[in-house]
Amino acid sequence: MKKQNNVVKPKRTKKTVSQPAKVTIRKLPTGVRGLDDILGGGIPEFSFNIIAATPGCGKTTLAHQIVFANATAQKPALYFTVLGEPAIKMLRYQQQFSFFDESKLGKAVRFINLSDLVLKNDLNAVLAEIIKEVTTANPGIVVVDSFRTVMREAVASGSELDMQSFIQGLTQFLTSWEATTFLVGEYGEAEIRGNPLFTIADGLIWLSQVTERNSVVRKLQVMKLRGQDSVPGLHTIRISANGLQAFSRTLGLVGKKIFPKGRRRLSMGIPELDKMLGGGIFEGDSLLIAGPSGTGKSALSTHFIDEGLRQGESAIVAIFEERPVGYVERAGSFGLNLKKPQKTGKLEILYLRPLDLSVDETMQEILDAVERIGAKRLVIDSLVGFEMALAPGFRADFRESLYRMIGALTGAGVTILSTVEVEDTFTSLSFSHYTISFLTDDIIRMRYVEIDGQLRKVIFIIKMRGSNHSKDIREYVITDKGLVVIGPRQTDYARLTTGAPEPINQPQEASPEPKEKKLEGVLRRVRD
């Protein structure tokens, strides 16, 4: 007999080792729309940053926006001005921007002029003055504008060691005093190399102006930002009455929730066309309507929008060629009332044709509108007009940005209809010069054909991702009811797609799929 072992074995418990918590770096808002996303959440607190650029890029405005976004009476911002733009002129110009809050001046935002000390070439005195002011005010934000002039004076005085010692002392002091610092300066890209300032800095925001033919566009690049996942590359910035606005290359769409793609079909507002599409297009699809001028692409898109509005969906129409008034009037001539949904906020018509438009800011405008009214349908009329409205320098980026925007919007469940003008040739059938498969799930082609001495119009479905569709070529007309598909199809002609069809007098080859007439016959027999 085995001796019973009464010894209770202690239960082995997993020893939990508490990990020391890593430091959480608070991120300060920049007050610049779009910039926090680019920076990976904002400016790291207590970081030592450089805002560098050539003149006229918006350095000082950027610094002011950051200052006004963060300064409070308890944690003020100290703005040291040095030989650059005098504070009085800064105040004169910066108060024109909407972010400028004069009630913050004095208590929350304090300007201190260091010119006299810098002119004496005494870096120690400059540092001592900064230390004195910072110690007294206990600021959250410190700006030195322009730091470049401080350095220039120091270099002129001939002591590089003094300069390095000054930078080191300044960095250590301001970080120890828990101040987030911005040194604003005019630098050229060649000056980055071998400059200790850029090595010490935690963050380096580079602003530039890019010239392309007659257009000038401001760009922002986060060249360096310690400890944060900033968005690489050049981002467009624009200076308006609201100050700087940044447009991320990713349009701030990275990480957005993807709408689960269902199989709900949306009506195009033209029953015969819905039938050709197998019941309508899928929600969240991107549909391209390609055809030459005058074939009714805009009319078709208006039907699409009107149908969505009838179903209670909100919609955005981005137009680049026609003006909103004309667009609404033309819809009215088809018996479609777009004025009412415009008034109730269910429909927004964006007319986007300013000069030097950047692709990212245009797309941002569309995205904002979509978000603002919760649009489920979007029309871009047309891609050619969109591209033409852009500054020449942006046209190269057009497809890439368009792809990103369409991908993000359809991913969010918005159904997009884009029109594109293509030139009809009478020897071939082109869809568009854009990279179709990347931009669209579905393609509808409209074209002219010459029949019996008339220039008539036909419509057919080229592609429908994930669904069967009619292969018929249907004739349509544009009447006072809009676009009306007639047909069922032109059976007496061949080579309709070339635009110069020929009458058929001999029996045709069997088509790979049943044509509509035959199919109807089969169904009738089945019913009988």
């Binding site: 001005t81 005098p86 504070a87 009085i88 002129k89 105040l91 004169r92 108060q95 004069e102 009630s103 001046l105 004095g106 304090r110 300007f111 201190i112 002029n113 260091l114 010119s115 006299d116």
Partner: protein, 140 residues
């Protein structure tokens, strides 16, 4: 062209009256002082630098000197203070001194107003004389 608005003129009068209250004998025995500009000097020097304040006060003095001849006897020294080139003792009536001070300060405030606007000018003054400058809600 006189850019001084009645509001700035009135404000200058109040500031001068406040700063000189009971400090001046009826007849001038001591050199003419400019307490308002002296009080503004550190604040504006911090904002604009010594040179910037010097330039602004010199301009105000030049403009004021056109209206008040005895002010032409003054200049702005390197520190940003006003100093007399001539001895004025007894030659200027206290009423004229008051008027000269008001005109000078009104010109200085007028310049500030032209550069940074009325709101910011009054903000600056409010920091030094909280009870004298009108509160923001009164500024139209």
């Amino acid at each position: 062209m006189n850019r001084v608005t009645p509001k700035m003129r009135e404000l200058a009068e109040r500031l001068i009256a406040y700063e000189t209250k009971g400090r001046q004998s009826p007849l001038l025995k001591t050199p003419v002082s400019f307490p308002v500009s002296e009080k503004l000097r550190p604040r504006l020097t911090t904002l604009m630098g010594k040179f910037g304040f010097h330039a602004l006060l010199s301009r105000a003095l030049a403009l004021a000197g056109k209206e008040v001849p005895w002010l032409r006897a003054f200049q702005v020294n390197a520190e940003g203070s006003l100093e007399s080139l001539d001895k004025l003792e007894g030659s200027v009536h206290p009423d004229e001194i008051f008027e000269g001070r008001v005109v000078l300060i009104a010109q200085l405030l007028g310049l500030l107003e032209a550069f940074v606007g009325e709101k910011l000018t009054l903000n600056l003054l409010r920091e030094e004389w909280p009870s004298l400058a009108p509160p923001p809600e009164e500024i139209k």
